[in-house]
Symmetry: C2
Subunit: 331 residues, 2 copies
């Protein structure tokens, strides 16, 4: 994949919203390595995923533009001249979206629409890859979940991400602004937020583990799949590079399906020590929990040749190692 991607992205211009965040920073590093001219947009809102430590290793290889995707006029300027827009900025906390729906709507709906309007007005030839989420399916009616599964989101975040995704497909279909959608499942790896569960509960677990506290597992029976962040980056690049993805939606998925109790056990094993405690689901979270979930990612596998390359154990090993070295930068 490396050579093909190099020939594709070398010398190209790529904009990444949420570029100082977890997935965005990995994508930035990879694109910069492939010879792309990369600009990162991030608002660095403390409750969200941006962390300047994420980009330290390659800070001099990218342009950093600290701004908010809700800022319509900045976006109009920044999309100009870009070949690619990796649109990853978002409010990710399900619980925050229920407690205070307005910022979620502003970021996940209104800003998306204004980014798309900016592209339509100022750079209609750009290719956009939008980071959507499996949250928009709600509680699965079948497993694994294919892209054709009905969309029944169970929280405000899921509804707004669904609208954000649909805007992208609409601008592709009606306005000819090329856009493709990836529906991410739990993505994990170095640089994910571990301060709290706003991005993924696995972050909190790793923090608990490294701070010598028992991992707090709610329920424990729920099935999940996990995508290694490097695998997710592969998917973004493959999708951006191939015009047949325009107007399409692809699930990402993981190399294995695991229940959360077993995941906690595996994490303890990878760490070499630690413990976990199974607790009851907090009521507020239980109401918006989706139960078991794992993806059918056969569409992206057959169309783009993507599949998860890393085992869950490898991913957890790399992640735990990273936070052992850099814990302080993420607290």
């Amino acid at each position: 994949m490396g050579e093909l991607m190099k020939s594709h992205f070398e010398g190209s211009k790529a904009l990444i919203t949420g570029g100082i965040g977890f997935i965005g920073s990995h994508l930035a590093e990879r694109l910069a390595g492939l010879g792309a001219e990369v600009t990162l947009i991030d608002s660095l809102i403390p409750d969200y995923g941006g962390n300047l430590f994420n980009i330290e290793p390659f800070r001099h290889q990218v342009h950093v533009n600290v701004s908010d995707v809700r800022d319509t006029y900045s976006m109009r300027h920044l999309v100009q001249g870009q070949d690619y827009l990796f649109n990853l900025a978002g409010q990710t906390s399900h619980l925050d979206s229920m407690r205070n729906p307005e910022p979620d709507l502003e970021i996940n709906c209104r800003a998306q629409l204004s980014i798309l309007e900016a592209c339509r007005a100022c750079n209609p030839k750009i290719k956009i890859v939008f980071a959507s989420t499996r949250q928009i399916y709600g509680r699965p009616q079948q497993l694994p979940v294919p892209e054709t599964h009905p969309l029944n989101p169970v929280d405000v975040n899921g509804i707004n991400k669904m609208a954000g995704e649909k805007y992208h497909l609409l601008y592709n279909d009606v306005h000819g602004v090329s856009a493709a959608v990836l529906r991410l499942t739990n993505t994990i790896g170095p640089r994910m937020r571990i301060k709290d569960a706003r991005q993924t509960f696995v972050g909190v677990w790793i923090r608990q583990l490294l701070e010598g506290k028992p991992i707090e597992v709610w329920g424990g029976q729920q099935l999940r799949d996990f995508t290694d962040v490097d695998d997710a980056v592969d998917a973004f690049l493959l999708t951006a590079a191939d015009p047949k993805t325009n107007g399409e939606v692809y699930n990402l998925g993981g190399s294995e399906v695991i229940d959360l109790g077993s995941l906690a056990k595996l994490l303890v094993a990878v760490n070499g020590s630690g413990e976990f405690a199974v607790k009851e689901f907090p009521a507020e979270r239980h109401k918006i929990d989706i139960g078991d979930y794992y993806s059918d990612f056969s569409k992206i596998e057959s169309e783009l040749g993507w599949k998860p390359k890393r085992s869950l154990r490898e991913t957890l090993e790399g992640t735990v190692k990273f936070y052992r070295e850099h814990l302080a930068a993420y607290l």
Copy 2:
């Protein structure tokens, strides 16, 4: 139905957003006749459906509160003490939503969320009936279209109405604010907007007919169904009155399915004179046209006993008669 409804709504308090508009004003008149204490909220934005002439016959029987549903604090006050909220306010023009998406998002998404937040905070025992639209299905994959059809809206308005609908279902499921959804197809009758096609193209046709101009039919082959506004009002009342509708979505439909060429012919026949001309679809509209559509309304029929009572001819006769008498009030 009359007696049952009277016993249900007499002495109750009902709030109608969009209450000076087409469907809202009919609902208001009916509720007032049943002995409900009715408050109408309407912004009277000239491009939308509100028209004070609509409520002239019963103006003294209702409270009129001119305000905008985007106005969060007013809504917080107005929902208090109400038994029912008939939530009909919306931006309805598909084309406007494509040309200028922001107001559509503000009204059809953000305001809906803030209305629901107002109910959750200030009146969680209210029952809400939300006016959704068949537009959220997009281009039908099967006919007639049931409620389980995938949601693939083809314009910004459809996406935002979809989000608005999902918020209502979410607040029902998670926050216990009782809400039910009606997905309306083309609703027609007296008091609909005829100035332009922002509400329904049938309005424009009637205006053309009464002004002695040929009715301009785009395409003409498309199949559609039409709900008489009085039938739609029946559905709103039945849905509000029955708690088993909470969290449910129901299609409305029409007594017959007709292609637009035949509809134009029928309209000329009903009027006793006039002509129509079939023209090519304007490109801008064609891109967001949904092709053939008609509803499967068997769910509301079996669960609530609703079905269209008026024939299309009767509806057109009543409508043409109304605009012959009151044309000037709608230009």
